[in-house]
């Protein structure tokens, strides 16, 4: 079985979780005996082998373009023309609308089924379609779902979203969650705890893009309330984004001063080290299609306060392997944070149960096996169809 994955992100070019997803799933599929090609963007047309994954880099900067959507369409044209000649492909697997145009052309070129993983929708990301560009992207998402043999989504929230927003019929949708790297389960920190907090301070961590959807402002407001009740706490905010300046001002306004530390973007090793050393992780996203960050905290065995909206509600069971809280209610977040920080036994139990949850169902080898089953079933259906 030979599968061609199309993704605009692939390491080292990573913007969000999509690149990591494609990297891990393709490497695990190779272990299952699947021949995997990945087409992604680069700075020149070239080809390389990455641990058995055949990676086709397509120069995405051959022409000048006025905006993002035009750029996306330009590299899709380059991708379709470059990849058209590889031949003997059994399936084309597209990740999000960003490679949908090339994926659809190649589907009809090879006459093979198209599998689409929709990681998030434009409607969900923006809370509606408020611009011409958003409508354009939304229509491409619709076309991708329409052309796909099967649509893979990562959570129940996304199942509902592709049904209601893109009109995808239920029998076409398959839910396969995201996963985490197995090595996280046995992670050994490479950075000292003393870099981030004093020995007597309880360390709370938030990480992710500093944007409204991720709820960093709620963490700071909850932290202010918590600090009034517990003096020995420290908040580390890891990540960067358009909301950073607002958040720094908010910290100053609330008089939190040296109790909040903004690290900016850090390496994966540093990020996981800080999580490892922490006493509590708070990730109160307002919109979260899946929540791979929550899963990473769980893999590291940390007590987690996650959002009670979207993806995390699929794998976080309230007061069993984590805590679910309303992202728009800092009082609620502070209440649960105090509960966990004051009760070591509870924190330990939540962390252990969280790690168990990840081990049993959310590592990439398990996710890849589920994806492989989708491929097999699709190919069996393809044989029976006159196309």
């Amino acid at each position: 079985m030979r599968v061609l994955h199309l993704s605009w992100e692939y390491p080292p070019h990573i913007v969000g979780g999509l690149g990591r997803h494609v990297y891990h799933i393709t490497h695990e599929l190779v272990k299952l005996g699947v021949s995997v090609d990945v087409a992604t963007i680069g700075y020149e047309d070239s080809h390389m082998s990455d641990d058995g994954v055949s990676v086709h880099l397509v120069d995405a900067f051959k022409v000048r373009v006025p905006d993002f959507s035009s750029w996306v369409h330009s590299f899709n044209i380059f991708m379709a023309t470059e990849l058209s000649h590889i031949g003997d492909v059994d399936l084309v697997h597209v990740h999000d609308w960003l490679t949908a145009p090339a994926g659809i052309v190649l589907k009809h070129r090879f006459k093979v089924p198209l599998i689409a993983t929709i990681h998030a929708t434009e409607y969900g990301r923006r809370g509606g379609l408020h611009s011409l560009e958003s409508r354009h992207i939304h229509e491409w998402e619709w076309l991708l779902a329409y052309e796909a043999w099967k649509v893979i989504v990562c959570s129940r929230l996304m199942v509902d979203e592709v049904k209601s927003v893109l009109g995808v019929p239920s029998d076409k949708i398959i839910m396969i969650p995201n996963g985490v790297d197995k090595s996280l389960l046995n992670f050994k920190p490479k950075y000292e705890r003393s870099n981030y907090a004093l020995p007597w301070e309880l360390l709370i961590v938030f990480y992710g893009r500093l944007v409204y959807e991720k709820g960093p402002d709620s963490v700071i407001r909850a932290f202010a309330k918590l600090l009034a009740r517990l003096g020995n706490v420290k908040l580390v905010i890891i990540g960067d984004g358009p909301m950073r300046e607002y958040l720094v001002n908010l910290v100053n306004q609330l008089g939190l001063g040296s109790k909040v530390y903004f690290t900016g973007r850090v390496s994966d090793d540093e990020l996981y080290s800080v999580i490892y050393h922490s006493n509590l992780v708070i990730l109160p996203s307002r919109y979260e299609p899946f929540g791979i960050s929550s899963l990473e905290a769980m893999a590291l065995g940390k007590p987690l306060i996650a959002t009670n909206r979207g993806g995390p509600t699929d794998f976080v069971k309230h007061m069993d392997n984590g805590i679910l809280a309303n992202p728009d209610n800092p009082d609620e977040i502070a209440y649960y944070a105090e509960m966990v920080l004051k009760d070591e036994g509870l924190a330990k139990r939540l962390g252990e149960r969280a790690k168990e949850t990840v081990t049993k169902g959310y590592t990439w080898d398990i996710i890849a096996r589920k994806t492989y089953e989708v491929y097999k079933a699709t190919l069996e259906e393809r044989v029976r169809v006159n196309w």
Binding site: R64, S70, H73, V105, K107, L132, H136, E139
Partner: protein, 192 residues
């Protein structure tokens, strides 16, 4: 010879004729009159009448909203080529493209469509963005000029019906174009 053409536009009854529509109509008629089998592919699901024995195939493009003309040109080309194999029969000896939008479709067809693989690809240019707009000061015009330069360099032959356009193609895009003074001669050159 079987010739397939790609254009953004083809004349429609009741609508004003644009210079691009006139060029596509007259060149395809000349090629037909020379005895060639001519098929023209255009975006849209309208079925234009069969002029002078030229087969015109409109391919529906499902996407209706575009932020700008560049996005439209690039995006619509992908939609046309994705589904054309179900509307076009047999193999073609030659591809004729009109303007940069037609050239994108032509190049995609040559690369991805069994009916066009191995065909030579020729482009007919009415004018360059340097004649229509201001690529030095306008972002959109600059982008179109960049795309024109790239796509015309991918073609086997580039033809223009104005000497000024040929000069621009050479000086601005480094593309060697051929000046052809009339549509009749253009038809003979392309089919020759």
């Amino acid at each position: 010879m079987r010739i397939i053409g790609f254009s953004w536009e083809y004349p429609r009854i009741g609508l004003q004729l644009t210079d691009l529509q006139y060029l596509v109509l007259s060149l395809s008629s000349v090629l037909r009159a020379l005895g060639h089998d001519v098929t023209i592919v255009v975006p849209g699901n309208a079925n234009p009448p069969n002029y002078s024995g030229v087969k015109v195939i409109g391919i529906n493009i499902p996407i209706k909203d575009y932020p700008n003309v560049v996005s439209y040109g690039l995006s619509s080309s992908m939609q046309v080529v994705a589904n054309m194999r179900y509307s076009v029969d047999g193999k073609f000896d030659e591809i004729v493209c009109f303007e940069w939008g037609g050239c994108i479709m032509g190049l995609l067809a040559k690369s991805t469509q069994p009916c066009c693989m191995g065909s030579s690809i020729n482009c007919v240019v009415l004018s360059t963005e340097y004649e229509r707009g201001d690529p030095w000061n306008d972002v959109m015009a600059s982008s179109i000029a960049s795309i024109e330069g790239w796509i015309f360099r991918q073609c086997d032959g580039v033809y223009a019906v104005r000497q000024g356009t040929v000069d621009n193609l050479k000086n601005k895009y480094n593309v060697k174009a051929t000046y052809v003074p009339s549509i009749e001669e253009l038809g003979r050159v392309i089919a020759g």
